[in-house]
Symmetry: C2
Subunit: 361 residues, 2 copies
């Protein structure tokens, strides 16, 4: 069938031109006579892919020279343990900002390794806003301070970077990565699983300041040490090679769109159109998140009449608008508007929403 | 260019029909209007892929009902730590058979977590054979006994399954997985990274007996607990979805070839042809491995005159025989003859070798 508009929260929509290139090269990559799926990760052509992926990320995000860019497997969940295992050093406690599902999950995992100081908790009251800077009960002696700039499930996004003084700030940037400029230098470590704005599942990028590497011990598995990846240029073991290959194509696509600043303007336009439709529906559609903290990437919304949910989802599918069901913990609908979602997709969604309200309102 | 014969040791050659199907479905998978790269791992069509991949593995290998089949990330290296972390229980030592690079690497990692008892060591004397059963200095009190049925780098393959009595036997079957029948019931745990006979990099299969699951503690990262994967049917976090998708296609292809017994016959024929060429060269080509332990999957060989290596490799490339360079720790050449390497590829290789000997001998 024709390509649909796919609002999945991740793994998520990829640029069509990226898929077309992967399709064209599937049996013969770069004139080598084999697929990128079939090559040794240590063969020269693939090492070039790794190097170029890093160089593109550095260029697009303006990563300072004293930060390393590492690629690994295991997704965000693996980082939930790697962050404390690598950053605690001689300390025993870390600061966590709880703003929704993913920061809660990270804190729960961290409790296996250290004492967690809850700096602020807007999750327990419904995850409809982020704390302001003045609300943060920061501990100057913490090993690091952790937050999630965009909560994928609750659709809550920070409109500022917390100031944690000399305490290294750690960001799970998975679902806002590459959607807007990132002030890397204000962070000690930023990680992002790829399957939102960066590529397929199986790849995670970690951007970490030099001085934070090399402080874990050999009581932990080798694969959980950032230094192993830094020393081996992320080729200590076999990476998910195809995911890296696609990520490079996505970064080239993003660069051709004008880079992060240009895609941010489009992301603002796309999300503003959807929120305006929700807010202008007279309560037929609802989003409960405080306006300054509404996510540009993930827009959860509910119907005033929950019993219409299945009708809404089925109707949307018939017009090619798919994977709109909200997370099971929240219910309702969620439209993820990642970089690769064109404006036309959001226009089609709001047109459907208006028509659905007209016929069911 | 035309498809070449690709002898890479992994990531390695895939069946051309699998690549063609992936190519055809790249923009529209299963009539959904999106790529398999773009779907939530929890969406119904992808859950079916996971379930079918497990069912096919069970069928092809005859996995008994009291074994779980788990899928995870991190490759063999992650298993090097997960095996001791999960299987030690209240014990502090484990048995390791050292037969080459990969069993040595596994033992080195295990020493982070327990005392390693070296049951036998044929690696330190050149890794040219495996120990016989009578040579094994097994410890009846070990938590488990570990071996690598096929050493990818040294080209040494077990011609029997070690008998470890009541001690659970663990196999790193990565490079022989699905190439021959596997006596699962004689093992406590078998793992295999996918990038040899099973699919792309980024996926690892673990086949583990029920009673060996659930004995680790929450001092370790959640992702290192087999029980987490078993309870969540390997969907606790996002798997490398594309790698699973390709693995299912590879298993369907293998089934269509007649299954594991049929592919074993072909693998015997392919490797016998190459070894006969080496042995029949009057010493121009050499393989030092004891005949009963010669690997069917990975055939390392050297030239009598090492200074001809680059000429050999360059000449092979000009006739479409690629990735034949031996591992840096061994030198010389290595031809990996995984399931997807057709007999025609080996015939082309031995024809080139004979011609090269005629012109350079």
């Amino acid at each position: 069938m024709a390509r649909v508009f796919n609002f999945a929260s991740g793994p998520a929509v990829l640029p069509e031109s990226v898929l077309r290139q992967a399709q064209a090269e599937m049996l013969d990559w770069g004139g080598h006579g084999f697929s990128v799926l079939e090559t040794s990760h240590r063969a020269a052509p693939f090492v070039v892919v790794m190097d170029e992926t890093e160089a593109l990320l550095r260029e697009l995000l303006g990563v300072p020279a004293n930060y390393r860019v590492l690629f690994m497997q295991g997704g965000g969940h693996q980082q939930f343990s790697m962050v404390p295992i690598n950053l605690l050093g001689a300390k025993f406690h870390a600061d966590y900002l709880l703003t929704g599902h993913w920061s809660l999950a990270a804190a729960a995992e961290a409790r296996r390794f250290c004492s967690v100081n809850v700096v602020a908790d807007t999750a327990s009251s419904g995850a409809t806003r982020v704390p302001r800077q003045v609300e943060l009960a920061l501990d100057a002696g913490a090993a690091y301070a952790y937050y999630c700039p965009n909560e994928t499930i609750h659709g809550v996004e920070f409109d500022y970077v917390p100031d944690t003084g000399a305490v290294p700030l750690v960001a799970d940037a998975s679902s806002s990565f590459l959607s807007r400029p990132l002030e890397v230098a204000r962070h000690g470590l930023v990680f992002a699983c790829a399957q939102k704005n960066f590529g397929p599942a199986g790849l995670t990028a970690v951007i970490v300041r030099d001085d934070l590497i090399g402080h874990t011990s050999n009581r932990w598995p080798t694969l959980l040490d950032y230094k192993v990846y830094a020393d081996a240029r992320s080729l200590w073991n076999t990476p998910a090679t195809f995911a890296v290959y696609i990520a490079r194509l996505v970064l080239l696509w993003l660069k051709a769109q004008g880079g992060v600043a240009a895609i941010e303007r489009l992301n603002i336009e796309k999300s503003a159109l959807l929120y305006a439709t929700i807010d202008g529906s007279g309560g037929f559609y609802m989003n409960r998140v405080a306006v300054p903290n509404r996510s540009r990437m993930n827009v959860p919304f509910s119907l005033r009449d929950d019993s219409l949910n299945d009708t809404f989802l089925a109707g949307a599918e018939t017009v090619g608008l798919v994977q709109l069901k909200g997370h099971r913990s929240v219910g309702g609908m969620r439209a993820s508007l990642y970089n690769a979602m064109p404006l036309a997709g959001v226009q089609a969604l709001v047109a459907f929403m208006r028509e659905f309200q007209r016929t069911h309102g």
